[in-house]
């Protein structure tokens, strides 16, 4: 009745204009990509080997025809890999669970956990190597300490999110422990167990990597075989590792774990002869600049001046972190539809899933090592490795999440389903996962330095090698500070809590 004259038509929005969540996130992502493109000229992306394709062919042949017979004591290395992963994770739980209960209340514990998390397992290994040598103690502590920090944070988050109704319904006067085991722990149990399981899988990868610093796990033989060009042997070892990961649901069954833990404890070793004096000297003297211990401030400034210029190394670390994250985003966006039930046919889906499992179970250092042999030492192999591994990991989670979505208009074509039904629902989650991964990616950029990529890790590795523990430890602190800063930044940038794909394996 009141509509006397037609209202003027609403103006058509311009390119990517508007305030809807989708458009906002698209602008956000494009800014990220643009930043990476602008900074790309500063990265050293040269291909330095003369004939990468011939090398690639040899590697592919090695993977296709593994030389099983050439392996020396593979079962022993395999057993030690599992033992270190299992006991390292258990150590992390034992240390991390009590910390998780104190985590919300103590700023000191939160800071300590952030520090333990910010240093990669391999760097912890390098540190403990100086005290405990090539022993099981080094391997276990290298896993248990960072994992304690991770468990403390994640367990605390899970416990914080349980519904409060059962706790509020209880009568008063119940002790803290009874309240916890009846009205809190059962509600959190499934998620705690799922996350712990995922962490154990990470621990298996990390345990393999410990071979790269000389501990006799699977990675030791793998690295030697790769470095010496015995690709058929390396292929056999890689297959062994994939079989180990793929068969995890069977041998890692809940009921078998106690048996496995006891059995594998026998394989741990050798144990170091612990010298208290040596340990104390390392902790109290070796890792600190002598000038600091003497209170000589002039000397400390001179010591700082002698440290090589860290600007380029920090720049490379951050640049690689950014490039790796953007690369992972692109890889994830390309790969997830391959493994998702809404696209393709059973054969393509099987192939897609196989590819994702392959990429995400290969330790990123392994991938980087592979590309390094192929392309020579520049940022390029590190970038490819980070983008592929993390992109595949995100794609895997997104595909699983997409499988659970029931499209409102199932008759749409593939492109329509992707653009209108699935991507709008999934993209906030993809971006949130990416920001979670950004911290992990940065931590990994540092360890890629051990392969000769000029990040902070390169200098840490070199200083440990020259036995300059004070400089190495200082660089570790710088790395940790950088990681904590980037973690804080990514937490601010990532989409809100509601967007996050609910999965224990997101971090």
């Amino acid at each position: 009745m009141t509509q006397a004259h037609p209202r003027p038509q609403e103006a058509r929005p311009g390119w990517l204009a508007g305030q809807s969540a989708g458009v906002r996130l698209a602008r956000h992502s494009l800014t990220l990509v643009a930043l990476a493109v602008v900074l790309l000229p500063f990265a050293d992306l040269a291909i330095l080997t003369r004939d990468p394709w011939a090398e690639l062919g040899r590697m592919a042949r090695g993977l296709a025809w593994p030389a099983w017979g050439a392996l020396e004591t593979p079962l022993e290395a395999l057993g030690l890999t599992v033992a270190v992963a299992l006991w390292g994770t258990l150590g992390g739980i034992v240390l991390g669970f009590p910390l998780a209960l104190l985590f919300p209340r103590s700023r000191l514990i939160r800071a300590g956990c952030a520090f333990a998390r910010a240093i990669h397992e391999l760097f912890w290994a390098l540190l403990f190597l100086q005290v405990f040598g090539l022993s099981a103690a080094t391997a276990l502590m290298a896993l248990a300490i960072p994992y304690a920090g991770i468990f403390a944070k994640v367990y605390a988050e899970i416990l914080e999110q349980i519904p409060g109704a059962p706790r509020d319904a209880l009568p008063s006067g119940i002790g803290r422990l009874s309240r916890f085991v009846y009205s809190e722990l059962p509600l959190a149990w499934t998620r705690l167990a799922a996350y712990t399981r995922y962490r154990f899988e990470c621990a298996l990868r990390a345990s393999v990597l410990l071979g790269f610093v000389g501990l006799p796990t699977l990675g030791f033989q793998l690295e030697t075989a790769f470095r010496e060009g015995r690709y058929h042997e390396a292929g056999a070892l890689l297959w062994l590792f994939y079989l180990l990961i793929a068969s995890l649901p069977w041998w890692g069954h809940r009921r078998l774990l106690p048996l496995l833990a006891l059995g594998s404890a026998m394989l741990l070793g050798p144990w170091p002869a612990l010298e208290g004096g040596l340990l104390w000297r390392f902790v109290s003297q070796d890792i600190w600049p002598p000038a600091l211990l003497e209170g000589d401030w002039q000397g400390l400034i001179a010591w700082l001046a002698r440290i090589p210029d860290l600007g380029p190394a920090i720049g490379n670390t951050l640049l690689l972190g950014l490039l790796g994250s953007v690369g992972a985003l692109i890889v994830a966006l390309v790969l997830w539809p391959l493994a998702c039930r809404h696209f393709g046919n059973p054969a393509t889906r099987l192939a897609g899933r196989g590819l994702l499992v392959f990429l995400r179970s290969t330790p990123e250092l392994m991938l980087a090592f592979f590309f390094l042999l192929l392309l020579g030492p520049s940022l390029l192999p590190a970038w490819l490795a980070l983008a592929l591994h993390n992109g595949a990991l995100i794609a895997f989670l997104v595909a699983r999440h997409a499988d659970a979505i029931r499209p409102g208009m199932p008759e749409l074509g593939a492109s329509g389903r992707l653009a209108y039904e699935l991507l709008p629902r999934l993209y906030p989650g993809i971006l949130a996962l990416l920001y979670y991964r950004a911290e992990v990616i940065l931590r990994e950029t540092a360890i890629l330095g051990m392969l000769g990529v000029a990040t902070l890790g390169y200098y840490i590795d070199a200083n440990f090698e020259y036995l300059l523990f004070d400089v190495a430890f200082f660089l570790l602190l710088v790395t940790a500070a950088l990681n904590i800063a980037v973690d804080a930044l990514s937490r601010r940038l990532r989409p809100g809590e509601s967007a996050i794909i609910e999965d224990p394996c997101q971090r």
């Binding site: 109704a165 059962p166 706790r167 509020d168 319904a169 209880l170 009568p171 008063s172 006067g173 119940i174 002790g175 422990l177 009874s178 309240r179 085991v181 009846y182 009205s183 059962p186 509600l187 149990w189 499934t190």
Partner: protein, 242 residues
């Protein structure tokens, strides 16, 4: 209204009740006397849960509490959920052991209760696998197991059929001298309780013996869907803590 010979268990005198800063029930005046069975009526969002919460705080350990969302732990068995009513009476060690292997005494007592509530044979079943009505009975069993003199229930018979509701209320009456129970079955309120408190828009508009009230009086509490919707938004807003 005054002139009760016995001293009241709880007496509110022009009291404001709410969560934090937001007042849900303003200037509330009422008394609860020993031996009274009170039905608490009112549209959702009128402040029933707020009033029960305030009573629970006042009465402390003398009241058994049966909350609206049941407050059960879905992963634990029926037995353990009922046992939780008396967690405070055992040592932490006994409570831990009870999770591994049920204590003999409590197992027998809970089994008797479960028989009375029609939950027999379900004691070892996780609560997550029960139907809505069964869960409600588990919540009542837990409140009964506390063995207190008073019973406070926030819609404990909301999702069971009328026949069963009568049986459950009789069981509650049998074991508690005094009770305050939020309901939405008006007929039950008149037939089964001594007194009715009626809340509307955050005010106590009915406080009278059940015998002096008619269904028409109670209808005044639920005027139309409009008020109900208002009440709901008010309730939601008060629950949105910063």
């Amino acid at each position: 209204m005054a002139g009760e010979p016995r001293s009241p268990l709880v007496a509110f005198e022009a009291k404001d009740l709410g969560h934090g800063d937001s007042v849900v029930l303003s200037r509330l005046t009422l008394t609860l006397c020993p031996g009274e069975r009170v039905a608490l009526l009112g549209p959702s969002g009128a402040g029933k849960s707020t009033l029960l919460g305030a009573l629970r705080r006042r009465l402390g350990d003398s009241a058994a509490w049966c909350p609206q969302q049941h407050g059960l732990v879905p992963q634990l068995a029926v037995y353990h959920n009922v046992y939780m009513g008396r967690l405070a009476e055992h040592s932490a060690l006994a409570n831990l052991w009870n999770l591994v292997h049920p204590l003999a005494g409590p197992w027998r007592e809970v089994a008797d209760l479960c028989d009375a509530l029609g939950l027999d044979g379900l004691m070892r079943r996780p609560v997550a696998q029960l139907s809505g009505g069964q869960r409600q009975r588990v919540a009542i069993a837990r409140a009964l197991y506390q063995q207190r003199a008073l019973f406070l229930g926030d819609e404990p018979v909301a999702s069971v059929d009328p026949h069963q509701a009568l049986r459950l209320l009789a069981l509650i009456d049998h074991r508690h001298a005094t009770s305050v129970i939020a309901l939405h079955q008006r007929e039950l309120a008149l037939s089964h309780f001594d007194r009715v408190w009626g809340l509307r828009d955050g005010r106590l508009v009915i406080d009278a013996p059940a015998g002096e009230l008619s269904l028409a009086d109670l209808d005044g509490l639920y005027p139309d869907a409009d008020t109900d919707a208002d009440g709901r938004t008010g309730d939601a807003a008060s629950r949105d803590r910063p």
